[in-house]
Each structure stands twice: as C-alpha cells, then as structure tokens.
Symmetry: C2
Subunit: 624 residues, 2 copies
Amino acid sequence: MKSAKIINFLDSSKNKITPFSIDSVKINGFMGEYLEKMLRVTIFSQYEMLEKVGTIDNFLIASGKKEGSFKGMVFSDSDVYKWLEAASYALLFTGDRELKEKVDRTIQEIKEAQDENGYLNTYFTFERKKERWSDLATKHELYCAGHLIQAAVAHKRVTGEDTLLDVAIKFADLIANTFGPNKKRGAPGHPEIEMALVELYRETKNQKYLNLAKYFLEERGNGYASTYKFFNPEYYIDHKPFKELEEMTGHAVRMLYLCNGATDIYLETGDEEIFSTLERLWNNLITKKMYVTGGIGSRYEGEAFGEEYELPNKRAYTETCAAIASFMWNYRMFLATGEAKYVDLMELILYNGLLSGLSIDGKNYFYVNPLEDRGKHRRKSWYDCACCPPNIARTLTSFPGYMYATSKDGIYINLYEGSEANLEYKNSKVKLTQETDYPWTGKIEINISTEEDNTFNIFLRIPSWVDNFEIEVDGEKVPKNMEKGFLRIQKNWKGGHKVELGFPMTMKYIESHPFVRENIGKVAIKRGPLVYCAEKTDNKEGDVWNYIIDINGEVEEENAEIENKKIIKLKAKGCFEELKDWEEKLYTKIGSIKTDKEQIKINLIPYFAWANRSKGPMVVWLKK
Amino acid sequence: MKSAKIINFLDSSKNKITPFSIDSVKINGFMGEYLEKMLRVTIFSQYEMLEKVGTIDNFLIASGKKEGSFKGMVFSDSDVYKWLEAASYALLFTGDRELKEKVDRTIQEIKEAQDENGYLNTYFTFERKKERWSDLATKHELYCAGHLIQAAVAHKRVTGEDTLLDVAIKFADLIANTFGPNKKRGAPGHPEIEMALVELYRETKNQKYLNLAKYFLEERGNGYASTYKFFNPEYYIDHKPFKELEEMTGHAVRMLYLCNGATDIYLETGDEEIFSTLERLWNNLITKKMYVTGGIGSRYEGEAFGEEYELPNKRAYTETCAAIASFMWNYRMFLATGEAKYVDLMELILYNGLLSGLSIDGKNYFYVNPLEDRGKHRRKSWYDCACCPPNIARTLTSFPGYMYATSKDGIYINLYEGSEANLEYKNSKVKLTQETDYPWTGKIEINISTEEDNTFNIFLRIPSWVDNFEIEVDGEKVPKNMEKGFLRIQKNWKGGHKVELGFPMTMKYIESHPFVRENIGKVAIKRGPLVYCAEKTDNKEGDVWNYIIDINGEVEEENAEIENKKIIKLKAKGCFEELKDWEEKLYTKIGSIKTDKEQIKINLIPYFAWANRSKGPMVVWLKK
C-alpha cells in the first residue's frame, strides 16, 4: 500500500495548510478503539449489508450478469462508493487480503456496469436509460458520480492502482462533455460532485475538472438544481447564487456539501468572494443554527435547517451525515485559514453529534440524533436510505489524517489522541507521539524528535472550551504565544523533546441564547469536549425529563464502561418532581399541582454513548 | 326568510340536546360586533375576493359561459360553497337584497356547471373529465361535494328554496349510486362529506344518505383514502379503522372533520362504539395535543398533529380551520352528552385560537396561528389555499345558534353574550335576555319570561376556569345544583325572573405539563376565558421574548381599544434581561453573561387581538 492524504493539494503555494497522509499516524486511544472497530467489524458488516439488500447486485444487474431489477433508493450506488472509499482507507492500516479481494471484485463489477460512453448509474439502465440527466433535482446522478470519483481517488492513492480511477475519469469526462455554459445547462440537486471534481483535479492535474466544479457551483440559483417543484428552491439551495447566500437554509446535507465544494474551489482558486460567503454562512451556522452537540439541521420537514434559533431537542433531526458534512467542512475551513476555531468545531462534532451516530459495537447506526427521547429512538443495523453508515465508515477510517497538518510555519497538532506519528517536515523525518487518555483527561504528553537539526514551530490547538492551561517543554514553563487559537512553540526538535500540555478537564454548565425557547431555564453539561446526558438506565428514580440539577452542588466523577468502552460518568446533585399529579392534565393554574421534590444524584454519561444499553428516556438539557 | 338551525335532528328522541334556530337570538355584545362585521363587511369582501381570484369564474368556465381555464387549488369550489353557507346565515339577519341577488346568481352558475348526470366539480371538466373519482386521496371531490351539500341545506333552511338543494341532491344521488360496498370502493382523502350527508339525511329524511356517511366512515383504514403515496396513511387517518383509533394523528383538519362526521353518525345511530372512540380521541386531544389557546395541529409538516406534548410556540401551525373544526366537534359532543366540558372548549377555542384567525376589521385572515412570533407573521386578505376565510364566515354568522340548546329537561345557556332570545319551549314562548359585558366582566344578568305557566330547568354553564361563582334569582341566593358542569335552576318562569350570575374575572397564571418542553419555567396569562400575550407595540423596552413576569406582583387592568374594539389590557410587574451580550453567541458557560435586569410593567393584550397594530415580536408563554 502507498500512503494517502484525505486532500492532496495540487499547488500547495496557494494554500496555507496541508494535511499529512492518513497512515502516517497510528492511533491507540479513544479514537483508536473506534478505528479498530471499523477495521475489524464495521467495514465487513457494512459489505454484508450492501450485499444483503441488493446494492451490490444492482451493478451485476446493470451489466447483465444477473437477472433482476434495481433495488433501493435512486442514489444507492453511492453507498457502495462510500464503502469503497472507507475500505481503501482501511487497507492502509491492515492490508487485509480478504478486504482487498472484496474491493477488487466490487471495482470489477462497477467497471462492467459502466456504459461504453462512460455513463454509470445502475438506476438509469434498461427502460430508464432514456431518463438520464432528465431530473437533476431529485435523481442524484451527479451526486453518485461525485462519490464514485471520491472513492476512485482514495483507492488510487492507497493502492496506486488505476482500476477505479479509470472508470471515474471516463464518467467525469462524459459529464464534462455534457454539462457547461455552452452545453447542457444544469446543476446537481444534491451537491457532492463539486468537492469530488476538485479532488480529481488535484489527482490528475487536469484543469477541466476544476472548471466543471466551478461551473456547477456558479450555476446554482438559476433554477437548474430545483426543477422538481415539490420542494421549494431553498431546499436545493437554488434560491439565489451561492455568493449571495446569507443564511444556512434548506436540506442540511445539501447545504453543507455545497459549502465543502465551495471551500475546495476556494482552496484551489483563491476566489475571495467565495471565502467571504463561507465565513458569513459559518457564522450563521454556529451562532444561530447548531445544537450544543454540534449537530445541525433541526427540521424533519425536508431534513433541513430551521429558522434562526429553531432547535427543538426531542424533534431534533440532526442527521449523522450532516454532522459528518460539517466535520469535513470545518476541516477545509481550517486548511484555508489556519484558525483553530474550525478544529474546535471538528472536535465538538466528532465527540458528540457524529459519534452518537454509531453504536459502540460498531454495527448499528442513527440516522437522526435527537437531544431528548422517550426511549423509542434506537440505532438500526441499516436503513433504506443508507447514506449515514458508510459515511461514518469513511470518516472514521480516515480519522488519523485529520490529526496533524503542516504549513511553511510548522506542524499543527489539531486533535489529541494517544498516537504515534511519523511525519516529514522540511525534508527531515519528525517523530511525534502523544501519550494521553484524552478526552477523559486533559493531560497530554507529546514527544517530538527529529534526527537532524530542524527548527520549526509546533502549533498546539488550545480548545476554546479551555479557560486556562498548563504548558511545559522539557520540564520548563514556556511563554504562551497564541496564534489563531494555537499555542506556538518554536524549537530545534533534534534528539527529542517533551511537551507537556494540561487542560483542566472539569465539568461546566452551558446555557443557550434565550431565543432557543426550549432551553430557557435549562443547562447542558459538558466536560472537556464532551456533552453529557442523563439516561433512564442510570437514573432509576423518577423521570429524567423532570430532573432538576443543582448547579451549585458538587459533582463526582466515576470511571465506568459501556459495551467495554471506558467512559467517565458524572454524578451531580439534584432533585426531581413527581409527575403523578400531572396525569391527564395539560394546563393548570399555577400552584394547583404541588409536586414533591426528592433529592437525588443525577447520573450523567457522555451523549455519544447513549442508547447502547436498555431503553428509556434521555435528556441533554436539564432544568436547573 | 325562514329560520334555520345549524343542526336539525330528524328524530330528536335519539338525542339528548337540540339547538335552537340561529336567528332566534339577537346578539349585541362582544360577538355581536363580530357578527355585525361579518354582515356588513366580511361577507361582501369575501365575495369580491372569490370573483377576483377566479373561483366564481371556474363555474362559468365549466358551464361554457366563459372562456378560460380552471384557476386555484383543486378544492377551490368549496370556498364558494362555504361562502354560500355563510351568506345564507347572513340573510337570516339582514335579508339584504343585494346579498340575496349574489346568492341567487351564484347558485344559478353552480347549477349550470353541473353535469346532466349530477356530477359537479369545476376542476374535473374538459380534459380532466376522465380523471373523475380517480384520486380520492388528494383531489377533494367528495370534500367539495360535502361543502356543496352543507351550503345547500343551510340555504334551503334559510330561504325555503330548493334551487341549491336540488343541485346537491342530484350530486349526492350520483355519489350514492357510485360508491358503496357492492359498487366502487372508496373513501374521501379529506373527510367532510360525512357530516354533510348526515345533515342531508336530516333535511330529506332519506336514509340512504346516512348509510353513505356510515359507509365512508367505515371504509377508512382499508387504504381507500390514502392511495396517494407521498403522505403516509396516517396523514389521511387511513392507517386503521376509525373505531380502533387511539390518538389524534395526521392532518389536523382531516382528523377533526372525521370526528365531526363520526359524532353526527353517532347522534343519528347511537352506535356506542363510535362514541367511545370519540371520547378516547377527545381525551387524547385535550390532555396531550392542544395549545393553551385551544389551537390544534402543531406541525407544519402535513398540517398535522405532532406527537404527544409536541407543542412548539413559534412554529405552532394551529390552522384556523382546525380551531373551527374543533369548535364544531365540541358542539356535537355537547349535543351528544349535555356535558359542559365540551362547551368550555368551544369557548376557549372561540375567544382565542379561532378569533385570532380574523383581523378586527374583518378583512384579513391568519391561516396559521403561532403563539410566538418575531413580527413577521401578519394576516392576509386572501390565500391561494383559501379554506380559512369562508370557514370563519360560516362559523361567525351562525354563532347565535350555538348559544342555547334544549332538551326534555330544560334550556341550556351555553355561551354568555349580550343578547335577546325568543325561544320556544314545551309549546310556549320563552324570552331570554342577557345583559353582560362578557368576556370582559363576569357579571351576567339574565331575564327569563314566559307568558303562561311553564316550569322547567335553566342550565347555566359554569366554565371550568371559574373557581367560585355567585348566583341569585330575583335577588335571592339559590342552591348550587350542579349537573354535568351546568348549574340547574328549576322554576316557573311565568311573568319574568331575573337570574344574576357572577364569575370572578381575575387574572390567572397557567403552567403546562413538564413534557411540553418549551413551556418549562414559563407561564401563560388568562383572564376568564381569554389568553393574553405581550406584543412589542405595547412594550417598548427590551424584547418581549426575554421578559420575566413576577407572578407574585400585583396586576392592574386598563380599558383600551384596538381598532375600535374594546379590550381590557393587563399590566403585570416584571423585568427583562438585555440581550446585547448574547450577540453572536449561541452557547456559553453559565454565568459568563451578566445580564442586567430592569424592572418594568409588562403590558398584556388578549391573544385574539394581536397583530392588528404595528409589527413586532409577540409571546404568549412568558418566563417567570
């Protein structure tokens, strides 16, 4: 196996920051356990599901090797492509022969399903062949093409093989010949192909793919992406040109994938109007439309962003794919700016709204991630609309690639995780290890060494949730030189030096803007980057929905395990009100119900770990 | 003009309670002003809108008298029928010649648009003729037929003329010949025809219409009402047989119209299984799914009921038609039982969630009635989907008919309103006047007189919001004999007697079940049957969304006017928190924002009167 970066810039001079390759980092901590689960369990169980529900068979049917008709959603080809991307990353770590065979066989089936002219979509075969490119709004042809391209580029980078890349290029060329200013006009109903085309441009150095990505971005707002009238143009983010957008609206994953593509285009073109739009949208997202878990897209109606401050907890939609999309976007925004605030968001999303989408055993998934529940919402092994499971897989199998980055100024340490990295900087090898139990502890010991003299900066992200931190290098305090949210340490790292970082991992109560109407008089509980929740199974007395937390009381910590994964439980003081007198009543005169309050310990677990044990009510925002 | 009842029972022995005719009561108080507005303004301005947007023209086009094509929603014929029902009631009071001419002309156009075989729907003419009865789920043919029948029955009862009734009967006969157990199977996607058919049965004494209503009720749950697959069967209340329903679900107006029809069928058949279903659904509605304003249907998605306790305030859908449907249903439930609790609901709905649908000038309408707003939600003079305006008109023009009712035991006084009624009971005339400024005051002076000896009960509804009341008859205290929520006074009313009723019209703070998550730590303010709200235009300091009411403070009352309509304002003590430090923040560590609190008077107006002055935020549930 070769090594692979998530993003490979063609011309790094245009970019401030570039990633290291995914397999340059071996992880062994909190996220390492998840990666291990991916490599040993998830990647195989997902393939089984793809075979079982007929998604793989669609390719065999399309190529005439099997009898039958297309099964699943119109975009189900993309599930296979996302899995292939994840499987390629997995091969980086394991080189597993059985997996490699599955990958090869799958690629062969895809290749055989491709038309001679390059067209490839198993839904649009046989009698539906004549409908190709007739409904870009809802039929996801360009979306599927985008995932094919992303998978192909990942596969090429990992294996060095052109098998899938040739297929993708053939299709991309057909698309480039079909669409454009003087060709067929159109824009994808579901963005995705934009970032894929930029990556293909990075891989092949062929400018036409970047041009096509730009074309698709600029074509939005002309009605080409929203020809299907059931949803309004806002759903497709087609109500105005991209550069005029002021607010995160419409289908959340569409909106976020569009932002990803636009950031990629900015990264390669430097178009500052694109970047100022992205900043405007990012500010709107984080100040008006994001859950405390980093989840986004609050509305079931159209899987969409709500209005400003519309953040209901039980009926939070917060699709796992939207969390992933935001994670990817914030990474690109970091690459564009070197600002730690974007990585802070990645961290928040990852540990809360993203990981909640996966069961700890690695086999079950949430599509929707509510912040309150009555015990009915459970993870499933697959979905008819199976976009989320392989999206989780490709994100977690590439996780090590997100941890570090580099620029002409030095090396960025973005994410903390027990790990060993073998990097290269200014043509010399850098070994960088982290010893930490993060996110359970805020103590991180980092050892950095180069073989030769090599003076450069290490940028350590100081998360925005940290009030004060300790830093020592080789046992000595050093000045806290902060740059864009990073602590900068300049040094000649020859021979090895020890950096000791300490974040206070204490529990905090969070409150929200008074316009988030459901959270008035309530608090969320955070410890470090983790949002906590109260789940029935840990809280036998009363109903967790009616718990009141004593924000002045002492909080105890307790080591515990859920499904063999270590967690830290919190035990806060509080009380609860009995609900019995409320039975069969919805409104009463104040004071007419006298509720007894009983003193209790409120047991809290990290939000990502909920719904892994017995069913019952769960709540994030507690009455104070 | 003859006189007309809203509901005319065929065989009153089956029923406990029957209404008096609408024009037996002249009203001159709070609701009298609304009726006057209906008769002088609304009924004419609505006709103008129906002409302007082409709804009347659809009939002329259908009959070939005019060139053009169908305009508006597929069910826009029903707007004309609802207007005709309202105009017929209006004729009872005014006999206005100009209005009578409009009514006659409109009926003539309808008649000419009817097919020879009786079919009548202006959408299904010309090229769409072949699509008749092909999509009962979404095309509203039976719904429109229902409104035609209701209008025809009302028109017949008011004018004694058969012009519209003949049209309706011809169509009803076609429907009866078309649908049934051994004919074409089907059930309406939108219930409505059920209550219309029962009323046609009452008017014509022809059993087949009752049978057809029963058929349509019983056919639900077989998939005949939900053949269109975009919405799920629950949307159409077609997911299970009516008698198995446990919960108010699906499209709110559909659900409520179905309950209305089912109650009518119960009233004529005595099928107790229907009634126990209705009671179960009613309990579910009022204990889990109703706003404090009586509004229902909390979800934009499908204009539908949400889950239990899903009652967001800003994003409350609470369609005006759903409030009207609930008003009508509660009336039928009262007729079935003699229980005051149903009339209490009528009162709550009427003064709050229903009247909020109409501007005080009688010319503008809400389709959606939120309980919180940022100043953007305003009434409009008409809607593309114009179901609500004429629905309000037919309800308010028949309002006097809802005030009294009778049974073998006596006369029910359901609703309080300055008025003079000339009733008949046990073959002798009864004059009954109310002198009151209700709902502003709780003092009601009722004079009852008969010319001859006539001993019977008067049942005075004691609203459930009344904690204690005073009652005197001819200046003397009488025992408080309560029966089903009514105070019973038995007397020989010859010569005239004075009943003086006094309700304490004080302000109360209401809290809601802790599972209504948005209302935790908040109170609503009620005075008598009226729900209050704080509107920006009366509250210049700060933002009403961030007001905190002092529930122990004194509350002042003040007479005021909005658009020349008298109201009583409330002035409560409270304070507000500045929002300036929250700018550009969504979540913060508790205590990191120090908000100054400023003492203020919080000015409150009745909810029905909001959005009649300058734009600005409004809130019903205030922080306490």
